[in-house]
């Protein structure tokens, strides 16, 4: 939405050759083109202690001489050998770098990762050289070999492990609220939960105890987040689960929860 505005402005200022790539970044990525990131992205992630995956695509001896802190080396066997360490969260920030900018190695790793469905992958535009020549901190010796990505929770989001804890062992101060609709609830529900469909929540909010912490779930997290918003706006101490919950129709009482 911003690019047409910028183009109008440029024309007003007298620039004569103005174009708009209106389809923009989503179309660029979809067509299989690479996107690049810069040193500032890594520094920003570090500053706010964000989780990201930094991958070094250079040979081990080069990596040992110097690499960007927190980097994971792509092993000789290739990026595929790391696949099962990648997070389930497709929006994870992933930066690949090589000695220079967009090298063949980096491009290959980027394409594989994008092919797995990761939406926020990029290649460091000036590579290791650019990082080093900008005077940034470097690490020596072998780089990390294990991806340790922990997705940061969104406002109100409750960790899956915490949620599972309440399901297994109910707490007197916490209520797990299921906001799916009646048809879904008839197909199965989690133990130790209270049911109240989202579309009735506003009208029946007085049925929800105000002196307890309310943790909401649904089937994916979308409605749970809305219920969280309603409860929060009404002054409740609340949180929600952002995870996919499936109930086995064949075996009543069995379910799977995954992020």
């Amino acid at each position: 939405m911003l690019s047409p505005l910028a183009a109008r402005k440029a024309e007003k200022l007298g620039y004569k050759n103005v174009k708009v790539y209106h389809a923009g970044l989503p179309a660029w990525k979809k067509a299989g083109n690479v996107t690049v990131s810069n040193n500032a992205a890594i520094e920003d992630y570090n500053k706010i202690d964000a989780s990201y995956i930094l991958l070094d695509s250079r040979p081990a001896d080069q990596v040992a001489k110097g690499h960007i802190p927190k980097a994971i080396a792509i092993p000789k066997e290739g990026i595929d050998s790391l696949k099962d360490q990648f997070p389930k969260f497709m929006g994870a920030s992933i930066i690949v770098y090589s000695e220079d900018g967009v090298s063949d190695d980096a491009r290959k790793a980027y394409k594989t990762i994008s092919g797995w469905g990761y939406k926020q992958a990029s290649i460091l535009d000036q590579g290791y050289k650019g990082w080093q020549s900008a005077g940034k901190t470097v690490a020596t010796g072998p780089a990390g070999s294990k991806i340790d990505y922990v997705r940061k929770l969104l406002p109100g989001e409750v960790e899956l492990a915490v949620f599972k804890g309440f399901i297994d062992k109910p707490s007197p101060d916490t209520i797990i609220l299921d906001v799916r609709n009646v048809t879904e609830i008839n197909e199965g529900k989690l133990p130790n939960t209270m049911q109240l469909p989202l579309d009735e929540l506003e009208n029946r909010i007085s049925e929800v105890p105000k002196d307890k912490r309310i943790i909401v779930h649904c089937a994916t997290g979308a409605r749970a987040e809305m219920a969280y918003t309603i409860l929060k706006n009404a002054g409740y101490n609340t949180g929600y689960l952002r995870a996919k919950i499936d109930f086995d129709k064949e075996k009543p009482g069995t379910f799977t929860i995954e992020e």
């Binding site: 939405m1 911003l2 690019s3 047409p4 505005l5 910028a6 183009a7 109008r8 402005k9 440029a10 200022l13 007298g14 620039y15 004569k16 050759n17 103005v18 174009k19 708009v20 790539y21 209106h22 389809a23 923009g24 970044l25 989503p26 179309a27 660029w28 067509a31 083109n33 690479v34 996107t35 690049v36 990131s37 810069n38 500032a40 992205a41 920003d44 920030s93 900018g101 967009v102 926020q120 992958a121 990029s122 535009d125 906001v179 799916r180 609709n181 469909p197 989202l198 579309d199 506003e202 009208n203 979308a222 409605r223 987040e225 809305m226 219920a227 918003t229 309603i230 929060k232 706006n233």
Partner: protein, 200 residues
Amino acid sequence: MSRRSLFVIGAFTLTIVSASWTLSGLAMADEKLPAKSDQSCLKCHEYDKQSNIMAGKFKSASVKASCVQLQIDKGLEVITFDDNTVLKNAPSIPEIPMEESVRVTYVKKDGKTYAKEIEVKKGLAVPAEQLISTEEVAELVAKGPEKGKYILLDSRPTDRYNEGHIPTAVAMPFFAFDKLAEKLFKDKETLQIYYCAGFS
């Protein structure tokens, strides 16, 4: 709610909506409710002087629960809808892009915040001759700015640019346009290509 009662309410809503046009303002049957607007919308709209409006960024929709969620400044609002909710500038409610600016005309119905109308902000039209395709951009990027004689400009906020942009692009966040224009542009003739996060 049964199908029949929905239909009755639907017919009723329709009549008051049509009546409201001639009265130029609020339908008589509706209670006047305060407008809630994101600061960014107030730059161009005077929602603070109106009522029964919620204006903000579209966050999510649930068809199963007939709800949409809107971000207004730092707060969130959940608004219900039904088949009688008038939708403008989008094919269906689940297809409204996230973060899109929307304006909701709302009332209280059966105790719930209900959307009578959801209007998605219309994208700015770009004249066909000003558009450039992915293939054309890719060709230029392969040549580089000097050989290709272009400057590719990313209109998104700088942190987004840092995280991932088209190779050879320069950060030019829209809100810093004036400050950066002097620095970035050497002449009036060089091809300037602007892009951002697409149509949304």
